[in-house]
Subunit: 352 residues, 2 copies
């Protein structure tokens, strides 16, 4: 079922919402050609939407999964608490298994389950589950606005800022992380220009970042991923800002494939490279080698809009993420403040 | 007019040929879905084919332009030598203006014109023009075979070799420069695997390199351009080989957009980075800042196979080439031998 929502209420796109007992998501696979909202009535549909990238971006995935769990709870016909929890754990597992690399997914599901486990009857569990998901949804926007305020100080008047992938409204409930910082700098009256990389293979840059910045009236230009190095070596880029799918305590950042090479070239040219990530994206326990890099389907690379662009039977490597080491990162912008290297120490400070 | 040629005669694809008084080119815009040959009867058609990338790759462009000039001469109805030369200079200008960055184009046209100017009657000019173009066509394959022999020594058993864009049979008359080295190593019995980058926006990697290596039975895998850094940082690449559109006396290399960032990351990880380029690709006179980097049409970036992948009205930067400095280049393979740094000196030696 298709539901055309109102994107004007916030001034930015609202990517994930709870409306009249259902989850409503922008169908990002249709962008930039169509802004279409889809209504979901059960968690299996939400899990499929995450898997098929109808919704993507670590924070947006987290809140979508939380709402998926809320659907599982609120729509359950279970007559006992045990039955309800069994259903919810099944939903938890199915939602958790959709994408392996982003940490927000597990963080969001854990947080909802924790709140649910604190209740002692069916009505209370259903109510608490939905309340927690709604709270996370609102917190996401608030955190993004606060990150925007914190990060906007780093942006200078006239900056030309390269961003990779989409860490915008469309990667969050709304406002965005990296693009939230850009939005906040823009709202503060700074004249900035954004260079968006296409971000093959799924093209979140060409399809989503250009779309949402154009939607908000922020100056944006598109480049192929292959031109990022050239743009930096020819001094056309003043600054890079990206989001993150998982940040380790050491400041190692897992983000969209291609982030590593952009960061390395920025470092070579002494161009500041910032990561904007809410604390829900931090994984304080893992080491770099613990993290599974998701390998996405071959079809993403060999087909575009149904057209084959590579011969039949060609072997493809399609890793969805890569790892950027802390030595290439100038600062990490969070809702509690801007972390400077060494990140392990500055992170301890803001968490204490 | 469409002409289906025989690609089996050489064991590799013959990209540019002169047949029965016409120029025959593989239509590379149709690959990998269709191997189609087009016959050209006048130089304007050849100029359009170069501009629209029916044929591309510096050496292939050079020989195609030479054949274009041969068409202008051999099909001319001029009654005086002056008239014939006027026609040929017009053809020269139109062919020369198709692509600004590759040096082989000017080199090839100059060489044919020089030979023509040495003649003193119409019949001799027509004959000499065609002879020179045919000679260049054969030399191209011989040079590529010799480069292959020279470069194959650099390849080790079991190497996994990353290549960017297409510097293969399809970028030359046949056999290829960078892929010629790979072909020669393969013919020498070395077991190698090739990783081809897609090479946005025109996708010479996914469309052409995979196609021609699959055609020749050489092991090839495809990756998005965004995964090149990840593949190198995770130690999956042993060596990089690319072609060149223009090599300066200092060893500065102009090549397909994206080469610079691959070279920089290879350098970061101490992965040998080789350039394979015949001497016709060398420009001994220019400095890096003299060279015009061609800006290609916006449509290459915002549309794929007629489908829009970016919003209407988005500004695009689409530079076709970038500049790799000599400090990122381990060696330059030519038909006269392998140049080691410092390139200015080693180049002087092989030219003397």
């Amino acid at each position: 079922m298709v539901y055309i929502g109102d994107s004007k209420e916030d001034g930015f796109l609202r990517t994930v919402a709870w409306k009249h007992g259902s989850v409503v998501l922008i169908d990002q696979t249709k962008l930039p050609n169509k802004l279409e909202y889809i209504k979901f009535d059960n968690y299996e549909q939400v899990a499929n939407a995450i898997k098929n990238m109808v919704v993507r971006g670590a924070p947006a995935i987290g809140v979508s999964a939380a709402f998926g769990l809320a659907l599982a709870a609120t729509r359950s016909n279970s007559r006992t608490l045990e039955e309800l929890f069994a259903e919810m754990y099944k939903a938890y597992e199915i939602l958790r298994s959709t994408r392996p690399t982003a940490v927000n997914l597990v963080w969001a599901l854990e947080r909802v389950m924790k709140r649910a486990r604190e209740q002692n009857n069916i009505v209370a569990v259903k109510k608490a589950t939905l309340e927690e998901a709604l709270k996370m949804s609102e917190e996401d926007i608030q955190n993004n606005r606060q990150m925007g305020i914190n990060g906007a100080c780093l942006i200078e008047e006239g900056d030309v800022i390269l961003t990779h992938c989409n860490a915008g409204s469309l990667a969050t409930v709304g406002y965005g992380t990296a693009l939230g910082v850009i939005r906040a700098a823009n709202e503060a009256g700074k004249h900035i220009r954004v260079i968006a990389t296409e971000t093959r293979p799924v093209m979140q840059g060409s399809r989503l970042t250009t779309f949402e910045l154009q939607h908000d009236g922020i100056d944006v230009s598109l480049i192929p991923d292959t031109a990022a190095g050239y743009m930096m070596s020819s001094r056309k880029i003043k600054r890079v800002i990206v989001g993150a799918d998982r940040v380790l305590r050491t400041g190692h950042v897992f983000n969209k494939i291609g982030t590593y090479q952009v960061a390395a070239i920025a470092n070579l040219h002494k161009i500041p490279f910032h990561v904007a990530a809410p604390l829900s994206t931090f994984d304080l326990d893992s080491n770099p080698s613990d993290i599974v890099i998701e390998e996405r389907p071959v079809e993403e690379v060999v087909k575009i809009a149904g057209n084959r662009i590579a011969p039949q039977g060609i072997r493809v490597f399609n890793p969805a993420f890569d790892l950027t080491p802390p030595e290439f990162i100038s600062s990490i912008i969070t809702e509690r403040g801007v972390l400077q290297p060494p990140f392990e120490e500055s992170l301890k400070k803001i968490l204490s």
